[in-house]
Symmetry: C2
Subunit: 592 residues, 2 copies
């Protein structure tokens, strides 16, 4: 069975030596002393390793069971959820007045990675609740916040988001679910929603559905969509769950992975709901949830890559097969461990260099969110809005590929379910699809975010890279291995941006044909920047005389690998972008 060890040292390195959180002017960051974050991460790591990880194969093998509208979660899930609740892990970053611990989002992100590595399907119950709570926090009335948030903070009540219908996923303007006003402030919601994660289950005393629907007579299409709170049990005046609402689960789906999470068809048959936020502004409210969810999904890519890598590394050290081509490394054994073989190292380094770069990217992204939410920093908000599709699309594509690599290290055993590596691949696959398929992320990035606010945010990104390069230009230790490759990659990104600007107005197809490559190009530059920053911190620690020389040297070697072997992908992405729309659009639809 696979095992999991929380990467605490690496997280502490990022928080305190790269991002220097306590030195940042972000409200709440002053309290993030190394001892404190260390203690939190240590405890979270224990829960992840000892409670959640052992349940991961159980969830995969048993799956959820549907019986006459009720959903039974896999053996052990409920007890584990109680333990997670009991430890206060479900609302680290929610406000204290609603039962949260008011910690910065950055710390919740680190903990979230651990939980998600250990058991993605399980962690989704909690993650979706957090997203729904965030939407209520941002858009709810005081009464709504008081009614729902304390229960959702503890996950005594869990949350869902209901967007998709059978005939519409991305294109929500086609939505048919309707909400009829009842004159008393409530609405009757009627329609069918599909792919509702955690839509029904047996681990909470109530489920709070956030449902997109159209109020009759409103504007056509996406502009006529509103968001509603539809609880499974209507809430009594004393706050306790009361009568059953007219919402029910019609079936659960048989899926490629995340078997421990119930993916539900939800039927709303005149269910009572209340408007969340303004009429016809449902998409705005939903995007509070969606943006958070997209970043959380990006993290799932990283998280599955991490647990895959941890196990592949162990297997590569232990499995004896073949000899080092330069001579035996384990002469007394029947063969050398797999890890002596260059191609096994190549694939492990692909994984390791992605994971550590992606973790830095995630935590830096979380810092931007804290700056924006806690500090009201508009520039940070603009930047994270630009980077959200990159985090979601790039980290889930790459994260998935890394789970495939990890599985491959096991050879035939990687394909046998008993060994557990297949689950990481199957679970990671969904992250490329849900919360907006990655092609939609690329469209969002190139079609919307790049030019938002006059292109100010992408300019700020380039400026930041330039400033970093300038500040460190005299640093010979960084130059050839880190600064030069980062500069080249950043130039490729700028050139791609220029191409879109020049072509995009004349021929939008030409820009959009390159959107997916641009998303990956951008992701690589972000990871290149992260590696350059990490290398700088590692050099500083070594220069200062550390007792952990091996840690910092490994960091530098891993970073050099990324810059030498992974970052040059930017040139290929640029070449594809520059080939324009013609090769992509040449065929008639009938000629496919």
């Amino acid at each position: 069975m696979p095992s999991y060890t929380a990467p605490i040292r690496d997280m502490q390195f990022l928080l305190h030596e790269v991002l220097n959180v306590t030195a940042q002017d972000v409200p709440g960051y002053g309290g993030l002393e190394p001892d404190f974050t260390g203690a939190v991460l240590e405890e979270a790591g224990k829960i992840a390793a000892e409670v959640l990880a052992p349940l991961n194969p159980v969830g995969d093998t048993e799956g959820c069971h549907f019986d006459n509208g009720a959903v039974r979660t896999p053996t052990g899930f409920k007890a584990a959820f109680d333990q997670v609740r009991g430890g206060g892990w479900t609302a680290l970053d929610l406000p204290e007045e609603y039962g949260g611990q008011d910690m910065p989002y950055i710390l919740g992100t680190a903990v979230g990675e651990m939980f998600s590595s250990a058991n993605q399907a399980f962690t989704m119950y909690q993650g979706l609740t957090h997203g729904a709570a965030s939407a209520i926090l941002a858009h709810g009335t005081e009464a709504q916040k008081a009614t729902y948030l304390p229960k959702m903070a503890t996950c005594d009540w869990t949350g869902t988001m209901n967007l998709t219908e059978p005939h519409c996923g991305t294109d929500l303007g086609l939505m048919r679910t309707r909400a009829e006003p009842q004159g008393d402030g409530s609405y009757k919601v009627t329609g069918q929603k599909i792919f509702i994660s955690a839509g029904e289950h047996d681990m909470a005393e109530n489920i709070i559905h956030l449902v997109l629907a159209k109020i009759p007579g409103g504007p056509e299409g996406i502009k006529g969509v509103s968001l509603f709170i539809v609880p499974k049990f209507l809430v009594n005046a004393d706050g306790s769950p009361g009568a059953r609402n007219a919402v029910s689960c019609g079936k659960i789906e048989r899926k490629m992975g995340i078997h421990g999470n119930a993916t539900c068809v939800m039927n709303y048959d005149g269910a009572t709901g209340w408007l969340l936020g303004e009429e016809h502004k449902g998409m705005r409210a939903m995007f509070t949830m969606m943006n958070e969810a997209r970043i959380g999904v990006g993290m799932q890519g990283l998280a599955q890559a991490e647990i895959g890598y941890q196990n592949a590394r162990t297997y590569a050290r232990e499995r004896l097969q073949g000899r080092d081509v330069t001579g035996p490394k384990n002469p007394d054994g029947p063969a050398d461990p797999l890890i002596v073989h260059p191609d096994i190292r190549r694939t492990l380094m692909d994984q390791k260099s992605f994971i550590e770069g992606a973790r830095a990217f995630m935590l830096w992204g979380a810092e931007l969110i804290d700056r924006s939410h806690r500090g009201g920093d508009q520039a940070a908000e603009g930047l994270i809005s630009l980077l959200t599709p990159v985090i979601k699309g790039f980290l889930t594509d790459e994260g998935y590929d890394m789970t495939v690599r990890a599985q491959q290290v096991y050879g035939g055993h990687g394909y046998i379910e008993e060994w557990g590596m297949s689950q990481f691949t199957r679970d990671a696959r969904i992250a490329m699809i849900y919360e907006g398929a990655n092609g939609v992320q690329a469209l969002d990035l190139v079609g919307r975010k790049l030019a938002a606010d006059g292109g100010r945010h992408v300019m700020a990104f380039f400026e930041m890279v330039k400033t970093f390069l300038k500040e460190n230009e005299g640093d010979e230790a960084l130059k050839a291995d880190f600064l030069d490759p980062l500069k080249a990659a950043s130039k490729d990104l700028q050139a791609a941006g220029m191409f879109f600007m020049a072509e995009g107005m004349k021929n939008p197809h030409a820009a959009l044909a390159g959107s997916y490559d641009f998303m990956h190009l951008f992701g690589h530059v972000c990871l290149g920047l992260m590696w350059a920053r990490m290398a700088k911190s590692a050099h500083a620690a070594l220069a200062a005389g550390t007792t952990e020389e091996e840690f910092y040297k490994a960091k530098l070697a891993t970073g050099r690998f990324y810059m030498a072997r992974r970052l040059p992908a930017t040139a290929l992405h640029l070449a594809r972008i520059r080939s324009g729309g013609a090769p992509v659009m040449a065929l008639d639809a009938e000629a496919f």
Copy 2:
């Protein structure tokens, strides 16, 4: 449920307009007139579409069942196998004297692609039998051939290959299974083999296991391995199956995919076997099977990509979602079909351009095999030996990625098993692993094949590309879109070869660190060459005034896409190869 249509027009184009089979000096090719191959492909396509494809989800959902040593295949498999046998599809290219139809391998390859697209798990029963029969044909005594081949030609008896043991997969020198000579020409075989596809099932009256084992007292390691024929039922003097042999299936594995094929643990408890080929030369005999199997596995990559693509294309044409950014294409409908969106086209073109290039590569490879086996052409044998790891490794990696892309087109529905796209991904995944994991293919290519016979075969490959470029250098229609990119890609491949020659002797790790990239670089150049050849044929047909203008124009557009968007990957692979061994090998094993 997914559907399948055999790509007959495309296969005929390759056979008759690109490879010009009837004009080739290969024994048996004279009979491959278009009407004949068309009739065979038509019939095979019907079996694939009407018999095998509908059983594919059945096999996936039901799987195989193990009960006390017996294996029950999924509902309908046995009847379908009888139908395939009855149609004479199991021995197209085996000699007539053993019940085959003596057709060239190239035709069997085209048929094999169809069957494998339609139902990979099912087709493996037949494919493994073919491999085992080939080994007996090449290395068996006349008596062995007479005893086994006629039954195996009809798949009344199926075959297996037994290599892997729990502690050794790639490194067969560690093998523990032993074969004790009994003095009567027979051996007692004892040991455990794992991952034996079709090791036990209910669709044949006998199963002929080819088993690698060590004869006590023989050389150490891989040089002491011999190959044995171990039938499930001993064969009576009259050729009928007799007493049960001491071989049994201990369990079947729960796997990520190919659920319809039983992956068995096989226990040999003093089972009676007979040497196939010479003592201690078992690997040579096994490689007859392995090489064939590796090419067959490469074809599985193509085949799963094909069925994934066919269904993704249909979904993209039918699913209405969003509007073309340049204006509605389906103004009377609620939305435009997915296929109007540039990123959907990008991914469909990735798939289409890979598939058509890969099919050309497969059929050209099959021609080389026919040249070698039927014509005794040493140069062809050397070339296909060089290309075998490229076909296996590149086509299965890319084929898998294409199934992931096809699944992605379906959005959330791609993750739901009911829609069938997940199965293509899960089934395709094994092809990267079995018959030598792709890292082992890369090692074989760079560590063995490249320098084999003084590097003569890779030189011949370069010479062939050069000759093609030279012969067509005046062709302006081909130059910019096809010849120039092929030339650049071929230069990258040569530069990588030079790097290995210069570095490989000094530092084998440096060469092997780039082996995986080299395998992909080589694969892209092969597909580039195939596309240049196809483009030449398409131009010729258009110039000659065809009634199928759309077909040839689509061929050119698809080729241009490959050359512009996919082939430039060669530069990235070269850059990675040139970064050498240091970034890959820098970390101590403990630092991972």
